[in-house]
């Protein structure tokens, strides 16, 4: 099984603050892999670094092609697509315009026309609201629009950053169910989620990130039963502290 996306020793941060401290992971075509972990672990930073939104050190290869040094737009052209935490939709433009722009890289080709129909088939609710401005949509619909727009680029690897954020459980279930169907189309999906249980239900494999590094990894089933995850999420009490105040050199 050759890796569609291969990350080796990835390090990234904000200015002088290192957040991701060396991460290795692989995703194969048609696989859904999730990275879960407590807040502040660096999951969003990881995705932003893979996409090129943040500068990063280490290896990022898409179907064997190294992405280091490429701008965001060029990584999109290579087949990588990100649905970021903030969705980054074009609020004042219509649903249809947002989707059409998603297909920007394939404009003028034959597939452009049918692509929107496919997205509407995947998300019927978007079809109902096709002429509405994106900012008038509900949270769940916005999320679906963001995913639909990313799919319009026919990505080989789709990166999803906390798609369940701010959504009701029912909508989360519906949306993640739709994501699961992407498997059949051969898309490789990297799913970042705080909602560990929901993510592990649809994923094939998972990594657990803590403090910038991978702490655990395995098949989704194994991880779902692992007690250590709870402790990672809720912290661990330690034996007593030292009494004297330290001096900074």
């Amino acid at each position: 099984m050759s890796a569609r996306l291969e990350i080796t020793g990835l390090k990234a941060g904000y200015g002088q603050i290192p957040v991701v401290l060396g991460v290795d992971l692989q995703i194969a075509a048609g696989e859904i892999v999730t990275v879960i972990g407590p807040n502040g672990a660096g999951k969003t930073t990881l995705l932003n670094a893979i996409m090129g939104v943040l500068p990063a050190a280490g290896g990022i290869a898409l179907a064997g092609k190294p992405l280091a040094g490429l701008a965001v737009e060029e990584r999109v052209a290579a087949g990588l697509s990100l649905v970021s935490e903030r969705r980054e939709l074009f609020g004042q433009m219509s649903v249809e315009d947002n989707l059409t722009l998603g297909g920007w890289l394939h404009r003028g080709t034959k597939t452009a026309g049918t692509a929107i129909a496919d997205i509407f088939a995947l998300f019927p609710r978007l079809k109902e609201r096709r002429a509405q401005a994106a900012k008038t949509l509900s949270g769940g619909e916005r999320q679906m629009l963001a995913i639909g727009r990313a799919l319009m680029a026919w990505p080989r690897v789709l990166l999803l950053d906390e798609p369940s954020l701010g959504l009701a459980p029912r909508i989360v279930a519906e949306m993640l169910g739709t994501v699961a169907t992407l498997r059949a189309q051969g898309v490789a999906v990297l799913l970042i989620e705080q909602n560990a249980r929901a993510a592990l239900r649809i994923a094939d494999r998972g990594y657990v990130m803590e403090l910038g590094q991978i702490a655990l990894s395995g098949s989704a089933d194994e991880l779902a039963k692992d007690d250590r995850i709870a402790r990672l999420y809720l912290g661990q009490k330690q034996p007593g502290q030292s009494a004297a105040p330290p001096v900074i050199a």
Binding site: Q16, I17, V19, P38, N39, G40, G139, E162, S164, L165, G166, P169, R170, V172, A173, L176, E193, Q194, N195, A196, R197, A198, A199, R201, I229, A230, Y233, L234, G235, Q236, K237, Q238, Q241, S242, P245, P246, V247, I248, A249
Partner: protein
């Protein structure tokens, strides 16, 4: 003040060449150039404070010079004033204009402010050009020179003394001002309105102070100009002049007083340099050259020539703030009594459009306890924190700090009641030393204003504040980095400095926003130790935090939020064992 390699050669160094009626042997042409450079440097100094330190870009300083110049010309030509007697009136006219324009425009945010300076500067210029009583386009001639006793300042060398005496005095007093309480307040403007308000610094009033100060310097320059040239038309005060003033500062380095001098000298010499290179009379080459230089400079670096030098040679920064061994203590608040409730939130709600971010939140923080506010992403912790600190207004509910109702009040109210905070993204002023940053915390514990700062009448109070800041820094283990620029510390010590700054405000409640974010393990332990010590002395602390290991080992009590509402509260062990909390963090089974 140490001299720097870029300074123009100091003519006083040629003392050996004393001729009775010509104190300097430097040819008159160079003196004239230096005189004009000095006038330009004065305006530049004002811009260093206004733009370089306070972050307010103004294209209108030339207009203020013009106001002073025309006032002086009018009074001396038509009302029989002597130039020296006219000076206070010039400065008064400029001050009034600055107060008026500042009152209207200084509340403008972002890029609207510099745009407004272009507008009124151009308006004032056109006014000069149109008013016939001021000579219109042709201008006024025969303006009498400054005279003290019988001595007239006419020649370039006499004016040199006058002008550069003013420049040097201005540099000295400006350094005094920037090292004072008002000066630190002006520095804070660059950190954002939230930072300033959180420590009780009035943003608008401070901006106005900086604005009027810069205008007064420009006014002095205008008076000197008209007394030197003794002929006046509107041209030197047009918008191009205003632009060039800003260029002076950009070339020299916006944040450095000697940058104004260096930039003024370079820009004054530029036309002649170019003439030497091109061998022609081409005025337009100046304009092209100015433009290209600025573009190249701002593309490469934003700190100018002196800035680049200062970065290479850190000794170029100002002298360290001295902390005298004995200084009077600042007034302090009484320590919270055990059992006293410092913070009380009752049924607080906040909606953003159709989204409910905080719903029916109620909890308390009492003396001598550390409370942690936790919850998964999107639970509303940051929103709740903003509502408590006054960065945002609740839709309904009540928030009480130290017994006073602060619902919907601005951040200034919290600090006055004794509640100080740190920020999620560290807001330290990188150019100031650690000690000066911490002294900002004590802003409301002092009273000295701009005049005391300028004339250094605030020594006693400054000593007290410095001593207080030092005490807190030593306690946090930061004693030996006190005099380093805050920007040179790593993130961990920077967060500690923020906490120390908050402590310097003598608070009765400390609010910390994700203090452990980005810290290494050892640094987190130091922070936890500091907070425990504070708690043991009776100081209550409320912190928002994501780092569960840190929080579980630090706090006495936890308040857990989910989807905007309070899920539960209790001691860490109980919360860790609570299945509902686990569900909320790991996610419901969909």
């Amino acid at each position: 003040m140490r001299s720097r390699p870029n300074d123009p050669p100091h003519p006083l160094g040629r003392r050996t060449c004393r001729v009775r009626h010509r104190p300097f042997c430097v040819p008159s042409f160079w003196l004239t150039l230096l005189d004009l450079a000095g006038i330009s440097a004065l305006i530049g100094l004002g811009l260093v404070l206004l733009t370089g330190v306070a972050g307010l870009t103004s294209f209108g300083q030339a207009a203020f010079s013009g106001i002073a110049a025309y006032t002086s010309a009018y009074l001396t030509l038509f009302s029989g004033f002597s130039p020296l007697a006219a000076l206070p009136f010039c400065l008064l006219a400029v001050a009034l204009a600055a107060l008026l324009l500042g009152a209207v425009t200084l509340r403008l945010s972002g890029h609207y402010l510099p745009i407004s300076t272009i507008a009124w500067a151009a308006a004032i210029f056109f006014l000069f050009a149109q008013l016939q009583v001021l000579g219109g386009q042709t201008g006024l001639a025969g303006i009498p020179p400054v005279s003290i006793g019988g001595f007239k300042f006419i020649s370039a060398s006499n004016c040199f003394i006058l002008i550069w005496a003013c420049v040097l005095t201005a540099i000295v007093t400006q350094q005094f001002l920037l090292g004072s309480r008002t000066g630190r307040a002006i520095h804070t403007l660059r950190g954002g309105a939230l930072l300033a308000e959180s420590f009780g610094i009035p943003v608008f009033r401070t901006r106005l102070t900086a604005f009027v100060y810069a205008a007064l310097l420009a006014g002095l320059a205008g008076w000197l100009y008209v007394e030197f040239i003794r002929f006046l038309n509107p041209t030197p005060f047009d918008i191009t002049a205003g632009i060039k003033d800003l260029f002076v500062v950009m070339i020299g380095g916006a944040a450095y007083p000697w940058g104004a001098v260096a930039g003024a000298a370079i820009l004054s010499a530029l036309p002649d340099l170019l003439q030497a290179v091109t061998g022609g009379q081409n005025e337009n080459y100046n304009l092209i050259a100015y433009g290209v230089i600025i573009v190249l400079l701002l593309q490469r670096s934003r700190i100018g020539l002196v800035g680049a030098l200062a970065a290479r040679f850190p000794a170029f920064q100002g002298p360290d703030v001295k902390v005298p061994p004995s200084a009077a203590a600042l007034p302090a608040r009484p320590v919270p009594r055990p059992g006293e409730v410092l913070l009380k939130a009752e049924a607080v709600e906040k909606w953003f459009g159709g989204l409910c971010a905080v719903r029916d939140m109620s909890f308390e923080v009492g003396a001598g306890e550390i409370v942690g506010l936790i919850g998964p992403n999107g639970a509303g912790k940051s929103t709740m924190f903003n509502l408590i600190t006054g960065a945002d207004r609740p839709g309904s509910g009540r928030i009480t700090l130290c017994g006073a109702d602060v619902t919907g009040a601005k951040p200034g109210a919290a600090i006055r009641l004794g509640v100080s905070r740190s920020f999620q993204h560290v807001k330290l002023l990188r150019g100031l030393s650690v000690l000066e940053n911490v002294m900002i915390g004590a802003h409301l514990r002092g009273r000295r204003g701009v005049v005391s700062g300028l004339f250094r009448r605030d020594r006693a109070e400054e000593s007290s504040m410095a001593a207080e800041a030092e005490r807190h820094l030593r306690r946090a283990g930061l004693g030996n980095v006190m005099h380093r620029p805050a920007g040179s510390l790593a993130l961990g010590p920077q967060r500690l400095v923020e906490v120390t700054r908050a402590l310097c405000a003598d608070p009765v409640l400390l609010l910390l926003d994700e203090p452990a974010a980005g810290l290494r393990h050892a640094e987190k332990q130091e922070l936890a130790q500091l907070l425990h010590n504070l708690r043991d002395e009776g100081m209550p602390v409320l912190l928002v935090e994501h780092d569960m290991d840190f929080v579980m080992n630090l706090v006495d009590r936890l308040v857990v939020m989910d989807a905007g509402a309070k899920l539960t509260e209790g001691v860490p062990d109980a919360v860790q064992a609570d299945q509902r909390v686990l569900d909320v963090y790991l996610g419901g089974v969909a």
